[in-house]
């Protein structure tokens, strides 16, 4: 006798999967990985490998021995967290600190909330901020990017462009006086500026962003509203006094702005569920970032802004619903 499967409709499934999405993000990060290896050499590889192995290891250990359930280290999510964590630290960070970062990211930010899909905050960012607050000196000594082709000489550290501007302005200098000290926009694009491993090349990050847009892993809403807010807000201030405020392009290209807008704020798990909500969320991150950069104690504010807005996501999800069909009865609109 024939036995047939009986289940509710639909009987077909699209070919999307969590694994596909996660590996899609990994592919999108390849340009930025290559740039970081090019500029920071063996150190970049050390940080990447330790961070990835650390995240995968802690995910496996916690699931196997603490939660005592199945392990999901193959789904690619811990791999993504590992690479993002590496992107968020300087390439000369001591190895043991990277391992601590991985433990914080996976153990504290992800697993303690219930694992994949349940974390409120972006795990890699939680780790970045944890490390920044615990080890401020090591987390803010930025090696100067130096092409791998120039040989493996000693690493020279220096401040980031944001740090130079912040300190300079606080010391009463004007933007025109600081201009010679900060990299040109072309250098920002290519990655020749001080900063965390993954944030130095704007171009590589934008390439990854375009790939994720094409593959429909992210939508335009968060990056556009976040970066748009940054441009408008910093543009207004710059318009008032170009000597006292940095211009919008500087804000876009330096620090973790693009890394945050493309890879961190768009993290599916911790961003709002509706496109309207995502626009509000992006606006909030952009606004907070500029507030922190200009008036805060830290030169860089992207991580704090994203984490703060992560906390607001449940409220955004409640307040901003999708446009319901038939909510506004539309009789005879055209035709």
């Amino acid at each position: 006798m024939n036995m047939f499967t009986v289940s509710g409709s639909p009987h077909v499934h699209g070919d999307d999967s969590t694994k596909k999405i996660m590996y899609g993000v990994v592919y999108a990060m390849i340009p930025a990985i290559l740039v970081s290896v090019y500029f920071f050499g063996l150190d970049a590889i050390r940080v990447l490998v330790l961070s990835v192995i650390g995240c995968l290891f802690f995910e496996w250990v916690i699931q196997k021995y603490l939660i005592k359930g199945g392990t999901t280290i193959n789904d690619g999510s811990a791999l993504v967290t590992g690479i993002l964590l590496a992107f968020n630290v300087p390439s000369n960070l001591p190895s043991w600190m990277i391992i601590i970062g991985a433990l914080v990211a996976i153990g504290m930010a992800k697993m303690s909330f219930g694992g994949l899909g349940k974390n409120i905050f972006n795990p890699a960012l939680v780790a970045r901020v944890f490390l920044l607050i615990s080890f401020p000196v090591q987390m803010t000594s930025w090696p100067k990017p130096k092409a791998i082709t120039e040989g493996l000489a000693d690493v020279v550290t220096g401040p980031t462009p944001l740090g130079i501007v912040k300190e300079g302005l606080d010391a009463g200098k004007t933007m025109s006086e600081l201009k010679p000290q900060i990299p040109t926009y072309m250098q920002d694009l290519m990655g020749q500026m001080g900063g965390s491993m993954g944030e130095v090349s704007a171009l590589a990050l934008i390439l990854g962003g375009i790939y994720m847009l094409v593959k429909k892993i992210i939508t335009w809403h968060i990056p556009v509203s976040m970066l748009g807010t940054v441009v408008i807000f910093s543009g207004i201030l710059w318009g008032f006094n170009p000597e006292h405020y940095a211009d919008p392009v500087f804000h876009l290209l330096t620090g973790g702005m693009l890394l945050g807008a493309i890879f961190m704020a768009t993290d599916m798990v911790s961003c709002p569920m509706t496109k309207r909500g995502q626009l509000v969320y992006g606006f909030g991150i952009g606004l907070l970032t500029i507030l922190i950069r200009i008036w805060g104690a830290y030169p860089e504010g992207v991580s704090f802004a994203i984490l703060f807005m992560n906390a607001v996501v449940p409220l955004i999800n409640k307040a901003f619903k999708p446009k319901r069909f038939g909510a506004k009865p539309g009789v005879a609109i055209n035709q």
Binding site: F4, S7, G8, D16, I21, R324, G330
Partner: protein, 446 residues
């Protein structure tokens, strides 16, 4: 052909797999025994009026409507009533039905069985509605709502547009497509009849752009019919949903919880328009319909004109038998069809196709945690949040499900189709709908 229109919110585009699109409609031989379930329409099942041993002719009334939302059933075959018994139907349950042993093919004398096309419409609106009601017509697209009810707008409501659904957005199915190509003339006369019954001057036939031959054919024929136009639509599932089709063709939104007549529209399927032609011009009740038999492993994907009551086994045999590795049999399309438990299930008024799926296509993927990607929300054509509704249903938070408008779900399955975590979202939404529906009915009683 004009510009391609579509609906605004959500939607998916599954593989079309219209394997039987080029197979002309074949008349299926009569079954030896016709199995006729009494519940063939949305609403109350019909009441049998024949008993064991009665001789019946094709088209003779054998079961009556048992209420307002109910329909007549006519014998699809001639022969002797073998018994009144519980028969297996598409739901997998045994429900009351009539079994008739077939003997010859003797038709009721009142039915015009000639091929002559009758163009002139002599009946007035009331006579048309009476004939449609008498003939037991239901929506042939699968929803099986009694057709005559839709032709009688409630007091105060006026129909402005008749929209004919030739979308056939379900993958695989081709019965409407073939009907438009082969019975276009009849379908258009049927449309004209429906327009007369409703008193509307404008009818739009919506056809998706993956059927260019049908769009061309009907466009050419429609030139002779005043007030009927063809609208080509961009391929997008679930465009065949009433509300989506109205949005796509006349850009109106049926308000939540209301019927299309609220925005001056009545939607009928092309198969229904054809059946209306037969009922009104030929006096032929609904006793047969076009059914696609299709699937990747099917040797001969085809479209059959089958009598109601024919066991699907016979349709499958006509397509050179059940493929060896069949794992699932779906009554309807892969997005909204129902999986069948047996090959004894008969063709009913609402059967649009039989889809045979291979074993490897038959089981669901393993569910994994929701990663809150929101893709279900993006594709929902009703603007709902399936991730939230499914969670509410799972946790029995039916008040939340109601507030978040679970009752607006049209069960198109786009959310579950899309979900990267393979969560059975629609299963939970159906649960939520049935629970919330019961709560609402209870509240109304008080």
């Amino acid at each position: 052909m004009g510009i391609l229109k579509t609906f605004a919110l959500g939607g998916v585009h599954p593989e079309e797999n219209k394997l039987s699109a080029n197979a002309p409609i074949e008349v299926l031989p009569l079954p030896k025994q016709a199995i006729i379930p009494l519940g063939q329409n949305l609403g109350a099942p019909s009441k049998a009026i024949v008993k064991k041993g009665d001789k019946v002719k094709v088209g003779q009334l054998i079961a009556e409507a048992s209420g307002f939302i109910s329909t007549n059933i006519h014998s699809p075959v001639s022969g002797t009533v073998f018994k009144l018994d519980n028969v297996i139907d598409g739901s997998g349950y045994k429900r009351p039905g009539i079994i008739i042993n077939v003997d010859g093919d003797e038709w009721d004398e009142s039915i015009d069985i000639s091929d002559t096309l009758i163009t002139e419409i002599t009946d007035d609106a009331q006579a048309i509605i009476d004939k449609v009601k008498k003939a037991g017509l239901v929506g042939m697209g699968g929803a099986t709502f009694p057709t005559y009810v839709k032709l009688m707008p409630p007091p105060g409501k006026v129909a402005e547009y008749l929209i004919i659904n030739g979308v056939e957005c379900e993958p695989y199915l081709t019965s409407d497509h073939r009907l438009m190509l082969e019975k276009g003339q009849e379908m258009l006369i049927g449309t004209k009849i429906l327009m007369k019954a409703l008193g509307v001057s404008k009818a739009i036939i919506g056809i998706e752009n993956n059927k260019p031959d049908a769009i061309n054919h009907i466009s050419v024929l429609a030139k002779d019919f005043e007030g009927i136009s063809v609208q080509a639509l961009k391929v997008q599932y679930p465009q065949g949903g009433e509300k989506q089709l109205i949005k796509a063709t006349v850009n109106r939104e049926v308000p939540s919880g209301k019927l299309p007549i609220e925005v001056g529209c009545v939607v009928q399927n092309v198969g229904t328009a054809f059946a209306v032609y037969e009922a009104v011009q030929k006096n032929k009740p609904l006793i047969d319909r076009v059914v696609s038999v299709t699937g990747k492993a099917v040797k001969k994907p085809a479209n059959y004109l089958a009598r109601i009551g024919t066991p699907i086994q016979q349709l499958i045999d006509a397509s050179e038998g059940l493929p060896e590795n069949t794992g699932k049999i779906v009554n309807g399309g892969p997005m909204m069809g129902k999986a069948l438990t047996s090959l004894d299930v008969p063709v009913v008024k609402g059967s649009s196709g039989i889809l045979l799926m291979k074993k490897e296509e038959s089981s669901r993927k393993v569910e994994s945690p929701c990663i809150r990607c929101s893709k279900c929300t993006y594709v929902c054509p009703m603007g709902l949040e399936p991730y939230l509704l499914s969670k509410a249903a799972k946790l029995a938070k039916y008040d939340i499900a109601e507030d978040e408008m679970v009752m607006d779900c049209i069960e198109c399955g786009s959310c579950q189709y899309t979900c990267p975590a393979s969560i059975p979202l629609l299963d939970y939404l159906r649960l939520g709908k049935s629970k919330v529906g019961a709560i609402m009915r209870d509240r109304n009683k008080k």
